[in-house]
């Protein structure tokens, strides 16, 4: 019987929810990581380890590791710091990506660290120095605490030296040589503000890639949904039909290149689901049209937000979809978003949700 594991990063630690392949009943364990704010927790299928990127107000940033699905945990920040003489400060570890035992962590100020020894030690892989826009994030006036960081990383699992990185407020970059050189991948994106560089200055919240077609990508941008059919080289906007152009979370269907999910939010200060009605939106035609999916979700007084890493989808034949809210609810659907059930409540504010299928 397969096991399904949800990894939930929250403002007060990491939680794990476990079910079988039916995904009806869930058992919750946690909090782990001593209640540190966890920004992203991921599972490495090649080693079975769980990693959690966390940053304590008191004790700084570290990556926690559990080699045994949450039974035991250790943390390390060995090497997870910029050279003190360079003036660059690492204030937070934001996002993780794993591939074949290798772990990358994106941090602020913008940079990527890697571990090749299972999270025991870390070294700087790149700061994307010299890329367009790096003059902005290397300006001492823009050093943390601030909002510039590497907020997301995504491996090409077929080609391990190729991966994508989002720099907050700057844009998407791709490397094909393991971080040695980079190319901006922002052509066709919309930005409603002045941009000092032609190739960058975009606010990308979330990037997903279709497991069914590696050239098909979607992104939730600060201003609009966008699709790429050439692995990010060019983008077209597909916002029409959605209630707002703003949101953070997104998920790509594991078997259908045209199906994709988003959670539109009010773009103002509230950044909650519009009008207190909770809904996930789905396209089945690559963004030509959108369907509102709300059965089982609260339809009044639900002022909840969903952050960039807080939605996940598994790869069963009937994929399960999951999202966690800024107010601690966790919802699941096993019918492609048609209906939803609340599988946890009263958790701390949820930062991230990832799903692992374990045989």
């Amino acid at each position: 019987m397969p096991r399904t594991l949800l990894l939930v990063g929250t403002r007060k630690g990491c939680f794990l929810l476990e079910s079988d392949g039916d995904r009806r009943d869930w058992a919750l364990r946690g909090p782990f990581c001593e209640g540190w704010p966890v920004y992203h927790a991921v599972h490495d299928p090649s080693t079975g380890a769980i990693y959690a990127a966390a940053a304590s107000e008191w004790h700084g940033s570290a990556v926690w590791k559990s080699p045994d699905l949450g039974e035991t945990w250790t943390l390390s920040s060995e090497g997870l710091a910029y050279d003190a003489d360079g003036g660059r400060k690492l204030s937070k570890v934001s996002t993780l990506a794993v591939n074949d035992g290798r772990v990358l962590v994106g941090v602020e100020a913008p940079g990527i660290f890697e571990s090749r020894d299972g999270g025991a030690s870390w070294s700087v892989l790149t700061t994307l120095a010299g890329e367009p826009g790096s003059d902005v994030w290397d300006d001492p006036a823009n050093q943390p605490p601030g909002h510039l960081g590497v907020s997301a990383l995504m491996f090409d699992t077929d080609e391990p030296s190729r991966f994508w990185a989002i720099v907050q407020g700057i844009g998407l970059f791709e490397t094909g040589d393991d971080g040695t050189s980079w190319a901006p991948r922002n052509k066709g994106l919309r930005a409603d503000w002045p941009r000092p560089h032609e190739d960058v200055g975009f606010c990308i919240h979330k990037l997903v890639r279709s497991p069914a077609d590696g050239d098909r990508m979607f992104q939730q941008n600060h201003v609009g949904m966008h699709r790429s059919d050439d692995a990010g080289h060019t983008w077209v906007e597909i916002t029409e039909g959605l209630p707002t152009e703003f949101g953070f979370a997104a998920a790509a269907h594991p078997h259908d290149r045209d199906t994709f999910y988003v959670v539109p939010l009010d773009p103002g200060h509230g950044r909650c689901m519009p009008d207190g009605h909770a809904a996930v939106w789905r396209t089945r035609d690559a963004g030509a049209s959108w369907q509102r999916l709300d059965r089982g979700l609260p339809q009044r007084d639900a002022y909840v937000g969903v952050l960039r890493e807080a939605m996940a989808i598994d790869s069963y034949d009937a994929p399960g979809l999951y999202f966690g809210t800024s107010t601690g609810q966790l919802f699941a659907s096993t019918d492609e978003g048609e209906s939803w059930s609340e599988i946890a409540n009263y958790l701390p504010a949820i930062s991230s949700v990832e799903v692992a299928q374990i045989d």
């Binding site: 304590s56 107000e57 008191w58 004790h59 700084g60 570290a62 920040s77 060995e78 710091a81 050279d83």
Partner: protein, 87 residues
Amino acid sequence: MADLHLPGTLTPLFAGLPRQVDVDANTVGEAIEHLDRDWPGLRDRLCEPGPLLRGHIHVYVDRERATLDTPLQLGSRVDVIAAISGG
């Protein structure tokens, strides 16, 4: 020997680390280095590159606010506080 008291947020991170430790050191920074030898990684939980004490880590030597350079005397009491940071 200084009488060093650690915050409760620190001890769960390092197996066997007690809340109170007697340390033979000439400065606060040296005391933290001594602890880091027995519990590798502890320095990084209290200090950031520089090194400097982390922003929300306050150290008092005999009830006076201290830095890493503050000298320790025989019998000094050192309190390491995880400063309140909201709910």
